[in-house]
C-alpha cells in the first residue's frame, strides 16, 4: 500500500513537472497599457492544439502554406502581439523590459539591431543543450511595437527562409544581385 502511494505521488509529481519544463519557453506578452493606447492591435495566440488545427487547413499546393506547414511541425505555440500607434513616442519603450525580465538563464540574445530613427530588433533564443526550444523577437519602431514568441523547436534558418515566401523578396539573394549589379556598373565605368 505504501509503495503504491509513493508511486502514485511520484507519477503525479512527474505529470506536473514534465509539462512545466516543456512549456518553459512561453512568455507572457500581454501589455495592457500598450493595448489601450494602440490604434491597431494584432493579437495572435495559437497553442499546440490550434497550431495542429491550422495545419490541417493549410494547403499543400500553395507554396506559402506548404512552407508554413513545414515550419510549424513540432511547435507548441506561436504568440504575437503587435501594437500600432497614431503618433511617434506614444508608447513607453521601457515596457519591453516587462517581457525581458521573464527570460531565464537558458535564453540567449542572438541579434540586437539598434536604430535611432528606424527599428530596434532584439532576437532571443531559448536553448536546451544545442537545441533551440524557443524564440522571442522584440521589435520597437517609433509608431509600432511587436513581440513574437515561438514555443518549441524552432528552425531559425527555416523561419528566416520564409522571407523568400509570402511574397517577400529574399534578402540574401537580393543582396547578392545588388552586389552583382554594382560590380557590373563598375566594370562598365572601367570600360
Amino acid at each position: 500500500m505504501t509503495r503504491f502511494l509513493i508511486s502514485l505521488m511520484l507519477s503525479i509529481i512527474a505529470s506536473i513537472a514534465i509539462p512545466a519544463s516543456a512549456q518553459g519557453t512561453r512568455i507572457n506578452l500581454d501589455l495592457p497599457d500598450m493595448a489601450a493606447k494602440a490604434s491597431e492591435t494584432v493579437d495572435v495566440t495559437l497553442d499546440g492544439a490550434m497550431l495542429r488545427l491550422a495545419g490541417k487547413f493549410l494547403s499543400s499546393t500553395d507554396a506559402d502554406e506548404r512552407a508554413a506547414k513545414e515550419m510549424i511541425n513540432g511547435l507548441k505555440g506561436i504568440y504575437v502581439r503587435s501594437y500600432e500607434f497614431e503618433h511617434e513616442g506614444e508608447y513607453d519603450k521601457a515596457q519591453a523590459e516587462r517581457i525581458r525580465t521573464q527570460l531565464g538563464p537558458s535564453w540567449k540574445k542572438i541579434v540586437k539591431v539598434s536604430s535611432k530613427t528606424k527599428e530596434d530588433v532584439d532576437i532571443y533564443v531559448d536553448t536546451q543543450g544545442d537545441a533551440v526550444t524557443g524564440l522571442l523577437i522584440i521589435s520597437a519602431e517609433p509608431k509600432e511595437f511587436t513581440v513574437v514568441n515561438i514555443v518549441g523547436p524552432v528552425d531559425i534558418e527555416k523561419l528566416a527562409g520564409l522571407e523568400g515566401q509570402f511574397g517577400i523578396p529574399h534578402i540574401s539573394r537580393d543582396l547578392k544581385e545588388a552586389h552583382k549589379d554594382k560590380q557590373g556598373k563598375k566594370e562598365d565605368h572601367h570600360e
Binding site: V121, T146, V148, A160
Partner: protein
C-alpha cells in the same frame, strides 16, 4: 364413526358435469391456435416516426453545426498562423538585413 362417514361422503366418486369433456377439448384447441399479434395503433406509429425523424434531423443539424464551427475555427487559425509567420519572418528579415550590412 362420524369421521368415517364424513370421509366417505367427501371422497365419494362423482361423475363429471355434462359437457365437461367438450369444454376441455375446446380450450386445448384455443391454446394451440396461433396467438394474435397486437400492433400499436396507427397514431402511435405516426408519433414514433415523427420522434425518430425529429431526432435524426436535430442530430444531423448539430453534427453539421459542429463541422461548420470546426471549419470556421480552422480557417481562422490558418489566417492567424499566416499573419504570425509573416510578422516573424519580416522581423527576422530586418535583423538579417542589419547583420548583412555590418
Amino acid at each position: 364413526m362420524n369421521l368415517d362417514h364424513e370421509l366417505n361422503r367427501v371422497l365419494a366418486r362423482t361423475s363429471a358435469p355434462d359437457g365437461f369433456a367438450d369444454r376441455v377439448v375446446a380450450r386445448l384447441g384455443d391454446a394451440n391456435a396461433p396467438r394474435q399479434r397486437h400492433w400499436p395503433a396507427a397514431s402511435t406509429l405516426r408519433r414514433l416516426a415523427a420522434a425518430v425523424t425529429l431526432t435524426l434531423a436535430l442530430g444531423g443539424l448539430t453534427a453539421h453545426q459542429i463541422v461548420e464551427h470546426r471549419r470556421t475555427e480552422g480557417e481562422r487559425a490558418r489566417r492567424e498562423l499566416m499573419t504570425a509567420l509573416h510578422i516573424a519572418s519580416a522581423k527576422m528579415r530586418v535583423a538579417q538585413r542589419a547583420v548583412a550590412h555590418d
